[in-house]
Structures are given as structure tokens and as C-alpha cells.
Point group: C2
Chain length 335, copies 2
């Protein structure tokens, strides 16, 4: 399909290297158009590549005029990207709108060498942030303060955008997949789970570590918990490692999921691993490929995804270890 | 219409006092249903009022089953709230889907006394945050640091969510309506514009102040700039004050807009006031009523909206003063 329409910011950025929070991108054969309002036209003209910038205070109307003028017969769109009201407005033309699910995600599933470099840089900045958080976390801080400290560290004090709101949760709170901060405080012997990310030039970083707070915090993979927690931790770590070491290009995503899930099930924790093993990462924090038991997607060279098995015992504790990997030379390399 | 379907988090929260990031709310005559996944059912059962909680790992499918089971003939939905793919899935029933634009916003346009109390509390916490920011802002900080300081102050160091990403911009940067941080630093004599907000129990605060940084920062309305800037500042302040003092219940929103716009036009700055005078505030940071030159909405008792005139001289400076008001006893009272 050589004709398509986009409005998602990341989908548009992928096409032309620029985007704004009020834009429509139209690809019509060999031509492309970037529609935006007066606040963004200067920047768009300077930065958007291989497309004509059209300024408009009514983007839908201008897009429709363009479709009429260019006599477009068929136009692809992602039915998840467009709301009913906007699409119905656009459809008042002779153009046939052809639904294409995950239109942009499918184009973006294999990362270029340039994109992989940006993701590596995001991971490098993110690793520094985890280190900086660990150095500043102190006994007595509550989850609100820890959460704010995570934002400070991840953003490098405002330099970078976050890829999502960080989760910093202690002990039983870590067992909730959508933990919100509480007034519980960091103390010696407590378990701390941190899931956090930042963006570098729009490309996302995502990592989770679980650690025991002793006199200080260390995010190394080697951790010493009480025997019960340690068994779960070692299981998650083994699931994480196996899913990375045994992944090969050409496997189905569901097979990669099974590599992690098998380890956890074998250790008797199967019912406590309540989510899928991972998800693609790129311009979106969650994108294709989805590493789940129901995904037939074939894992190929250049795909980037997270491996993040977890074990959650409600009311007791939660463990998750997450890294981003890139498929290179047939194997998964940790970024 | 006694049958409707919602998926927006704030729209659902308004109906039943609870919401999650994966939920569908169905009002079917005298019955109501809250559909969510296993992560949220416990909380939903404890907190969602006057509705039956249904746990599902496929909300759309469960909603469709419910429509079939209850033999619903007509169901209202907001065509801006629903994506094409989800609506098409739902529509595979005997039910007729009737579009109702701004379905939830229209219900929420008049605030109850309880809501006004929550908004007052949000404003109180927000005013403290502006004060705290002013005390901590120091010469030498760049816009990134100032932006981060705004997040720290507004969130009360992580206690409250932000209602939007704050804008803190210096001099010429303040003339950009979507200013992004730069490495420019705060120094004596510079103009600082801050537009920021937080949420208290989901209700939003929104305020803008423009100040001259002397030895320190003071957000009082009395400011001393150079003569050229001062003329613009005094004009914006007068526009802000007049739009508040002269507003009356029963006016059209466009008339309230004209109160501010008239002052700015009369002073010769008309072409530099490039946005509308204000917007409603509640669960959403931008909701009805919209105070624009094109809005026929009648301003009534209990409506809450911002008054935020501005003057922006590209490449030179920008001024904006914004407060939230509530219509009470026929007049606009500053919150």
C-alpha cells in the first residue's frame, strides 16, 4: 500500500524524523505531506524530511481536501489509531479507507543499525540512572520519595523525558503489578523493586531490578534475601538468563516466552508469573514483537525486546528482572 | 439516554468514583457494570459505587456479551472516545450505537459543591507549590533544572500527580506556546513564565505566572519589567482582571473571551494573543466550557474554568497570567 494516513506522534516521527502533538501525515504514492498548525510549521519545515509541510488550523479538513484534490482511490489507516469521529469526517470523500492493523508497528518491528545505536545510548543513560538512584536511596525514605528520586535519576534531573512513570515498590507492594506509592519506608532488610525508563532522542529504555536494601542499595544481579524470597529470586534470574541465552532468530515469540515460563513453572511458581515475558521497545515503550504465549510472531535479526519474567506472591513480595535485548547474529544480546 | 458506554478513565471515575487504565463502564437503564481485568477487580469491588464489577481478560468481548444478554436496543457512545477497531468489534450485536459528542464532558460541565471543594484544595496545594518553587529558584539554574524544580514543587516531592508537564520558560522562550527547555540560565533581570499544575484526588489545578527575576523570584501580580515588557504585562493583567470582574452567569463563553480580547486589542497587541482565553478544568485539565471566540456555551453557576490571556512577541518575550475561577452567585470567583 503506497497510500496511507497517520496521526500517532511516533508513527509520524518514524516516517520523516519530526512530529508534533497536532499533526497528520499523508503518504500518497511518491509524495508525502505533513499537516500541522502554526505553532509547529517552522520546526516542521526545518526538520521533517521528504515531505511537504502544510499549515492548517483544521488538519482533518485539510487532509480531506488533499485526498479530493489528488483523487486518491484507496488509503490505508490503522483502525486502532483513529477515533470514530475523525475517521467519519475524513471518509466523506471518494477515497476508500482500507483498515490495516498495526500499520506502523509492523514497519517498525525490525530496527535499523541507526536505531539500535540510539537504543544502546538510551540503555547507557538508563544504566547510569539506576546507579545514581542506588547511590542516593537512603534508609528512611518512603515510596513517594523513592519514586520521586527515581524520576530525578532517570531524567538526569530534567535532561531526558521518562519513557513511563517509574515503579519503586517495597516488599508486599512489589507484588502488585500496578503498584502505587505508599508511606512505607526503606529499611535494612527490605526488598526494593524498581521498573523505570527514559527516552534518548525519542527511543525508549526499560529496565527492572529487584534488590535487598542492606546498609545501602546495590542493583547487581547477585542478591541475598531470606531463603523463601531467595528461591523466587534465583528462579526469576534463571528464567531471565535462559530466555536470553536460548533465544534464536527464527523462533516464535511464544517459544521465547516458554523459555522463561518453563523455568518458573518447573520451580513451582507458575501461577505467580501473571504476565507475558516481554514486549518490543523502540519509539513506543510497548510495541511489537510481544513475547507472549499467544504470539506467533517470528523473532528476527534486528528486533529489540524486553525479557522480564517475574514472580508475585500477593501480600508477601514481588520479584522482576528485566533487560532489553537485540537479536544479532542469530542470538539475543543484552543491550 | 439511559444506556451508554464509556472507556475514558475520567469519564468512568465521574460515574462511580473509581477507575483504572483498563476498564469499560456500561450504564444499562437502572443497572451499571464496571468491566476490568484481574489486576483491578479487588480495588474496583471496594471502591466503585452503584455498579456490578465484572472481571474479564477481554473487556470488549465481555461488553458485547452483556449487550446481547440484556438485549440492549440503543446505546450512546462518544465517537471521539472510541477507536474504529474497538467500536466495530462492539457493533457486532443487535444493538444500535448512537453517537453522542462530548457525552461525558457535557455531564461534567457544572461542578457539584463537593467537586468545587476538591478543586479549591487542588488550588491551595498548587499555590503552595508556586511559592515553594519561587523560594528555590536560583540564579544560574538553566531551564532544564527549573523545569525539574517545578515538577518537584508541584508534586510536593512525589506526593501528587501533575496535571500536565510544566512549562518554565525564560524571555524569548516564553514567546513559544509549546516551549521546550533549553540551556538558558536564570539571571537577574530575566523574565520567567511558569505554567504548571497538579491533581488532588484526580481534580486538576492549573495556573500561570510571569515574573521578573531580581535577586530572587516573587510570583506576586505586581511586577517591574523594562517599559516595553511592562506595557504588555499590564495589558495582560488588565485583560485577566476584566475577564474575571465582568463575567456574569448567562453570558456566552465567546462574550467572556471578548472581555479579555477587547483589552488586548485596544492596547494594540491583538495579533499577539494567539490562543483562546481559557478552558474548563475538572477531572480533565482541558474540558468544557471552552472560553473561545467561537463558543456559544452559556456560562452558568458552578462552572469552573481558567482565565489566561497572553501576549507573545516572537523572539522577544511572552507574558501569560492564568487563574481558575468558579461561577458563584452570578459572578466569577478566583479559586
Amino acid at each position: 500500500m503506497n497510500n496511507y494516513i497517520l496521526k500517532d506522534e511516533n508513527a509520524i516521527y518514524y516516517e520523516c524524523g519530526y512530529s508534533s502533538d497536532n499533526a497528520i501525515y499523508l503518504r500518497l504514492g511518491s509524495e508525502a505531506f505533513f499537516l500541522t498548525d502554526g505553532r509547529y510549521t517552522q520546526e516542521a519545515k526545518a526538520q521533517a524530511k521528504n515531505c511537504e509541510v502544510i499549515q492548517s488550523h483544521n488538519l482533518l479538513k485539510s487532509a480531506r481536501q488533499l485526498l479530493r484534490k489528488e483523487r486518491i482511490r484507496t488509503l490505508a489507516y490503522d483502525p486502532k489509531e483513529w477515533d470514530v469521529q475523525s475517521l467519519e469526517f475524513l471518509q466523506k470523500t471518494q477515497t476508500h479507507f482500507a483498515p490495516r492493523r498495526q500499520l506502523s508497528w509492523k514497519k517498525r518491528i525490525i530496527k535499523s543499525p541507526g536505531e539500535i545505536e540510539l537504543l544502546r545510548k538510551a540503555v547507557e543513560l538508563g544504566a547510569q540512572a539506576f546507579e545514581s538512584f542506588a547511590q542516593q536511596a537512603q534508609a528512611g525514605m518512603d515510596e513517594y520519595e523513592l519514586n520521586f528520586l527515581a524520576k530525578k535519576a532517570l531524567s538526569h534531573t530534567g535532561r531526558y523525558d521518562l519513557s513511563f512513570d517509574p515503579i519503586v515498590a517495597l516488599d508486599a507492594e512489589a507484588s502488585k503489578p500496578h503498584a502505587m506509592p505508599t508511606e512505607q519506608r526503606l529499611e535494612e532488610g527490605r526488598l526494593l523493586l524498581m521498573d523505570a525508563g527514559l527516552k534518548y532522542k525519542r527511543y525508549c529504555f526499560d529496565r527492572t531490578r529487584t534488590a535487598r536494601f542492606g546498609k545501602a542499595l546495590e542493583f547487581s544481579m547477585e542478591q541475598r534475601f531470606s531463603p523463601v524470597v531467595q528461591k523466587a529470586y534465583d528462579t526469576v534470574r534463571k528464567a531471565h538468563d535462559q530466555a536470553i541465552e536460548k533465544a534464536r532468530s527464527g523462533m516464535k515469540a511464544s517459544e521465547v516466552d516458554a523459555l522463561a515460563r518453563g523455568v518458573i513453572e518447573k520451580a513451582g511458581f507458575g501461577e505467580y508469573f501473571i504476565h507475558s515475558t516481554g514486549h518490543g521497545v523502540g519509539l513506543d515503550i510497548h510495541e511489537m514483537p510481544f513475547i507472549s504465549s499467544r504470539s506467533d510472531t517470528i523473532i528476527e535479526e534486528g528486533m529489540v525486546y524486553t525479557v522480564e519474567p517475574g514472580i508475585y506472591l500477593p501480600g508477601e513480595f514481588g520479584i522482576r528482572i528485566e533487560d532489553m535485548v537485540v537479536m544479532q547474529n542469530g542470538r539475543a544480546e543484552v543491550l
